[in-house]
């Protein structure tokens, strides 16, 4: 069973739809017992970084998430990926600090949010697909990067460090190719 962490932010319905479509059993929950019973954890999220951290803190979920990432596959998607890092400019707050890196506002001349279908650049050929992005902040890190996209500047699109995976775009909204990438993340990820 896959647990999607429910902290009141983000379009959990669509992520849940995609996982059902792929044949997984899914539970949307913030109960510690259910999170601990899950085989894998997905941290979703859409919205404001500070708001997200506040909600996780209000639900007392941060210590629990720290424990879970020690023992289970842990996937952060969109804002959920950004939360895995040290700190964000959005609200000037610290994140979960599972991975080294900073989240900063995008400053390119092209329209922001970075919105639409953009191609992934990766050493893994199965990742070289157009996927759907929608975000205004991006992760700055040199470590654990699996795939990037180009939007006037490099955008970190997938990171993986052992059992921890971050996906900046929306695999659940990236058509069939997106579902394949989501499935690959759930089957151990991208580090061959």
């Amino acid at each position: 069973m896959i647990a999607i962490v429910d902290y009141g932010l983000g379009n959990i319905a669509n992520l849940s739809n995609a996982l059902h479509f792929l044949g997984y059993e899914v539970r949307v929950t913030n109960k510690v017992s259910e999170l601990e019973a899950a085989d894998q954890i997905i941290l979703p999220g859409v919205g404001h970084f500070k708001d997200a951290m506040n909600r996780l803190n209000d639900l007392n979920l941060v210590p629990e998430l720290i424990k879970l990432k020690e023992s289970k596959p842990f996937i952060g998607i969109c804002l959920g990926m950004q939360l895995l890092f040290e700190h964000s400019e959005e609200g000037d707050v610290d994140g979960l600090n599972f991975l080294p890196g900073q989240v900063k506002k995008m400053t390119c001349q092209l329209p922001v949010p970075h919105l639409g279908w953009n191609k992934l650049n990766a050493s893994l050929p199965s990742l070289e697909e157009d996927v759907y992005f929608i975000h205004s902040y991006k992760v700055h890190t040199d470590e654990n990067v699996v795939a990037k996209a180009n939007y006037e500047e490099d955008v970190v699109a997938i990171v993986q460090k052992d059992n921890i995976i971050g996906i900046q775009f929306h695999p659940e909204k990236s058509g069939d190719k997106g579902l394949q990438i989501l499935n690959q993340a759930l089957k151990g990820g991208f580090n061959q």
């Binding site: 739809n17 953009n118 191609k119 157009d130």
Partner: protein, 254 residues
């Protein structure tokens, strides 16, 4: 490189897709979920549903359409039409919409843009604008209620205000060009995209695949939206994308 998006728009009334010619004389087209599936297979980059039902029963049918579509299709979906409150917006987002488009309600109560973008994130707030040129004023004005009521708000002022208030995207329909199938309103769209840094979806006037090529070569907008030409199969999304590619406008292919 980011791809220009091709977006079919489905106007839904009481659970059935319809499309007007210059906002008048509606005719029935078909089942929204079936159409959505067909467009997905043909390469639609996104779907826009505009609910033009005037009744609560119609709105409830729309929520069913969203739920059913979201279970089967995994591309972005924007819902507009008659959304007035945080509760309305919550309902369609919970049903599976990714973005909402606000028009009349935002013009009437601009604070709604701030409130909703703070609550749901700027990325899911798309402001829809129906703009019409006024010769005597030499300017564009915003219209509400599906183009029926003129406001005193100038379009070029409004776009800057909505961006400041937290809109994540604009969906701009030229009422002068809508339904004419003579191409998009490049003058209006270029002016708008120069004034804002958020993405703009162009709407109104698509009559051929060439119209999309010209739109993307002559303006900086991010996406082109159309209804009639896709519904009537005058041209398919696939044909539009193939032509764009050969003319140097990169597209996503399924």
């Amino acid at each position: 490189m980011i791809k220009k998006r091709i977006i079919p728009c489905l106007d839904v009334k009481d659970g059935v897709v319809v499309k007007g010619i210059q906002f008048k004389g509606l005719r029935e087209i078909g089942d929204p979920v079936d159409l959505a599936k067909r467009y997905n297979l043909l390469g639609a980059d996104e779907l826009v549903f505009l609910d033009i039902s005037a009744t609560q029963t119609g709105n409830a049918l729309m929520l069913d359409v969203i739920r059913q579509t979201a279970r089967e299709l995994f591309i972005p979906m924007t819902i507009g039409g008659g959304l007035k409150s945080i509760e309305d917006i919550s309902a369609v987002l919970n049903a599976g919409a990714d973005k909402v488009s606000l028009n009349s309600a935002a013009l009437k109560n601009p604070d709604l843009i701030n409130e909703t973008s703070e609550k749901f994130g700027t990325q899911c707030i798309c402001i829809a604008i129906d703009a019409k040129w006024e010769e005597s004023e030499q300017d564009w004005f915003c219209y509400t209620h599906g183009g029926k009521e003129r406001t005193d708000i100038r379009t070029l002022d409004w776009i800057k205000e909505v961006e400041e208030r937290g809109a994540g995207e604009l969906l701009v329909t030229s009422m002068d060009y809508d339904g004419m199938q003579n191409g998009f309103d490049h003058t209006l769209l270029s002016k708008i995209q120069k004034e804002v840094s958020i993405p703009v979806i162009a709407s109104g006037g698509a009559g051929s695949a060439e119209d999309f090529v010209s739109l993307f070569l002559e303006t900086d907008v991010s996406a082109g939206l159309a209804a009639s030409i896709f519904h009537d199969e005058d041209v398919t999304i696939q044909e539009v994308k193939d032509l764009c590619d050969t003319k140097g406008v990169p597209m996503r292919h399924v």
